[in-house]
């Protein structure tokens, strides 16, 4: 889901930077209010976890690959604003150091994976786990569904961003200037892959860690004000 350089036209790339600057500013403001000094290691662990889990490319035999983002889990544990910051750090390092995701697309990639994904996942988790006891299975299920929905909403956005390019930018004879595939193909490919395969990986990772924490660190998943 890391959009490389050259797939989005400059107006789209620019637009997502323009959207993300106030999001990052808001994230700093909210995290400043709520993050405790004792939670700083968790912020670093969250960023590191998201980075390394994205290195686990899962193959569709003979087809393409994809991976989990781990961002819904970070959002459940630290809140969506802190997750936004943690995932942004991971995505920026991936783009600059490893060329994974374009530098012109950092705004768009952060919008999809560091904003849409943790927020969608967080609110789904909140809604389903509302008032559930800390050790209940409903919490594990909520985490799994949140992971699945969070990453799928992000993939849908990525599909739309890819897919509008041929509409926005093409030559007189109809050749695309950037992403060559339109909305139909881009959305069915992105959403198809994530609905069928990669979404389940985010779901399983999120649910398993929440299950583990119910025993090991139940205070981390108690309902309370979070960053």
């Amino acid at each position: 889901m890391h959009i490389p350089d050259g797939y989005l036209g400059p107006p789209t790339s620019g637009l997502f930077y323009v959207i993300m600057v106030p999001v990052w500013a808001a994230a700093s403001k909210f995290v400043k209010k709520t993050l405790k000094a004792s939670q700083v290691p968790l912020l670093a662990i969250g960023a590191a976890f998201s980075f390394v889990i994205m290195m686990f490319n899962v193959p569709i035999p003979g087809g393409s690959t994809g991976h989990a983002v781990g961002g819904v889990l970070v959002a459940i544990l630290l809140g969506p604003w802190a997750a936004c910051i943690a995932i942004t750090v991971a995505l920026v390092v991936q783009a600059l150091l490893f060329g994974d995701g374009g530098i012109t697309a950092i705004g768009a990639n952060c919008f999809n994976m560091a904003f849409v994904l943790p927020f969608a996942g967080y609110y789904v988790y909140k809604a389903i786990s509302h008032n559930a006891p800390v050790d209940s299975n409903r919490r594990v299920l909520a985490a799994g569904i949140a992971g699945y929905i969070g990453i799928n909403v992000a993939a849908l956005f990525a599909g739309v961003e890819f897919g509008v390019q041929p509409l926005l930018h093409h030559t007189a004879n109809g050749q695309a200037l950037y992403c060559p595939y339109g909305l139909n193909i881009a959305i069915s490919a992105m959403s198809g892959e994530y609905l069928l395969i990669f979404g389940w990986i985010e779901a399983i990772v999120t649910a398993l860690v929440v299950k583990y924490l119910q025993k090991q660190a139940p205070n981390m998943i108690q309902e309370k004000g979070r960053a």
């Binding site: 889901m1 959009i3 350089d5 050259g6 797939y7 036209g9 995290v31 400043k32 209010k33 993050l35 405790k36 000094a37 939670q39 700083v40 290691p41 912020l43 670093a44 662990i45 969250g46 960023a47 590191a48 976890f49 980075f51 390394v52 290195m55 686990f56 490319n57 193959p59 569709i60 035999p61 003979g62 087809g63 393409s64 690959t65 994809g66 910051i85 943690a86 750090v89 390092v93 991936q94 600059l96 150091l97 490893f98 060329g99 994974d100 374009g102 530098i103 012109t104 890819f162 930018h169 030559t171 050749q175 200037l177 992403c179 060559p180 490919a189 992105m190 924490l213 090991q216 981390m220």
Partner: protein, 111 residues
């Protein structure tokens, strides 16, 4: 053991297992992620390289492209796995440093 210590141990395990993310796609002959093709791959898929893409695609020369060393593209999977693990360690060092810095700047003092 503190839960953060357990998390760090989990991260170390993930770093060591990370080459699976390289080896499994190679084993199952899976190609690039959708929408992350090179110019050559786009040429094969569509019959042309979009002009704007051609201009922008090479904009940034990452120091360790695809979590490997420059010039290692033709090396075997064992070399690439080694580079993958080193990339994970280096990436995590930098990310943890930045995240700590941001965390220290933002977090309230006290607990």
């Amino acid at each position: 053991m503190k839960i953060t210590t357990k998390f760090w141990m989990g991260i170390v395990v993930l770093i060591l297992l990370s080459p699976l993310g390289l080896i499994l796609p190679a084993h199952f002959k899976a190609g690039s992620a959708w929408g992350e093709w090179s110019a050559d791959e786009i040429q094969k898929l569509t019959g042309y390289v979009p002009q704007g893409f051609a201009k922008l695609a090479g904009l940034w020369n990452a120091p360790m492209p695809d979590y490997a060393f420059r010039g290692w593209e033709e090396k075997g999977l064992s070399y690439l796995s080694f580079a993958y693990i080193l990339s994970a360690i280096l990436g995590i060092f930098i990310i943890v440093a930045i995240a700590y810095l941001i965390g220290k700047l933002l977090a309230s003092k006290g607990d």
